[in-house]
């Protein structure tokens, strides 16, 4: 029997946001590898080996999966959300690039509901027009590049979604992000803090940039920022499908 690797997105947390495609791959798998809290979401069963590993060992994890597939095992690498958005898919190809002997391995990427779209759905439609997704972590890129991209996103009048906004190891950077946003977008721009969407810990907070505080975000939060046209209607926040050119002048 020939092995394979599937890099699968488990969605933001709720079971009813896991696609049937991912469910089917998990049912066929002999091995599941991934970051501890994501592997914990996979129900144990006879014949399925679970390999949970810590954060920041993505390349080792990718190699382990490729090695097991070469031995004929059917391996699912689990990511939260979508595997192609700040998750394991890139790590697998990065590993493959430096290990060409795995070039023949069967690999499939199975999309999932990514956190920003689950969060947007809860808030209304804040990403209803052109938008950017930015990973605020500087583990793998300099913070200057984050700031550079923030300014271009703001000047292009994009709505924005931020992943990994804040962690214990870098508490000050998100304060700087809010500062840059206030400079570029003014105090009245709407910002949404969406924590653990679709889980029992879900919490949503909508404020203006003037009201926003760094403590409103943690590592389980996705942050969404509206464009110049984004507004409230009742409890909802939405960005119109069309837009005036006014926003483009900034």
């Amino acid at each position: 029997m020939s092995g394979w690797v599937a890099v699968a997105g488990l969605g933001p947390g709720a079971e009813d946001l896991v696609t049937p495609e991912v469910r089917a791959a998990l049912a066929e798998a002999t091995d599941v590898v991934g970051y501890i809290p994501y592997v914990a979401r996979v129900a144990p069963r006879a014949g399925l080996r679970l390999h949970a590993s810590d954060n920041r060992v993505e390349l080792d994890r990718a190699l382990h999966a490729l090695e097991m597939a070469r031995e004929g095992r059917r391996v699912v690498i689990v990511s939260s959300g979508d595997p192609g958005v700040f998750a394991m898919a890139s790590a697998v190809f990065e590993r493959l690039e430096t290990a060409p002997d795995f070039a023949g391995t069967e690999i499939r990427i199975l999309p999932g509901i990514t956190a920003m779209l689950a969060a947007a759905a809860r808030a209304g439609a804040p990403l209803g027009h052109d938008f950017c997704a930015i990973n605020l972590s500087d583990n793998l890129k300099p913070f200057d590049l984050v700031e550079h991209r923030l300014r271009h996103a703001a000047r292009g009048d994009f709505a924005m979604a931020f992943y990994n906004p804040r962690s214990k190891s870098r508490p000050h950077q998100f304060a700087r992000v809010l500062e840059v946003l206030r400079e570029e977008c003014g105090p009245d721009r709407l910002i949404i803090f969406a924590r653990a969407v679709s889980t029992p810990d879900e919490a949503l907070q909508v404020v203006t940039l003037a009201e926003a505080a760094p403590e409103m975000a943690d590592m389980r939060t996705v942050v969404l920022v509206g464009n110049s046209q984004t507004r409230r209607v009742g409890d909802w926040v939405y960005t119109p499908r069309g837009t005036s050119v006014a926003g483009a002048a900034g």
Copy 2:
């Protein structure tokens, strides 16, 4: 019995990319409304009324759904992909804003697998780092704003995803988009034309900007453009999770 409106994403086409949450809403619905090809994806059953309408009548469709919900009906508005990404969710809130008598209506937005992420999964991980999503249609915004955003996205060294790249009514604009991209990103940047992903008509084409031609896209195509670090490994295209600052200088 009290009515409701659910704005649901059917994903890019394949049945196994429809979430159980959306499936459950369709099972409870009394009415389904949407653009003709999307309503055609919903299986008819006794007690379910299907209301298919043409493109560009989004606000009328939203009002129709809200009116039916007020009469106690359970209405699913179907979108392709994710309802919050260039789809029906914004139209519903736009309609709600000018029809405050519907303020008490129960509304839920149910996320789906959006086209760019399904396309990225097929190609590898081209959106594996910071990226933008841009709707190239100028139905609701001036083309100048499209160009303005393209330049900021390129100068921020974002990967990009384009929805609605080309239609019969505006055949020349996508040629201009490619021109702008060549100016900003050079001839070697990778570009992916992903047509009808996850359907029987699926076709994927990976070329450089120098090789790209407007005819490679139509209205069923999502176009993905890499950032300065995006590269091939075997048949795959991926963007590394980290990036040098080199790309940021442009």
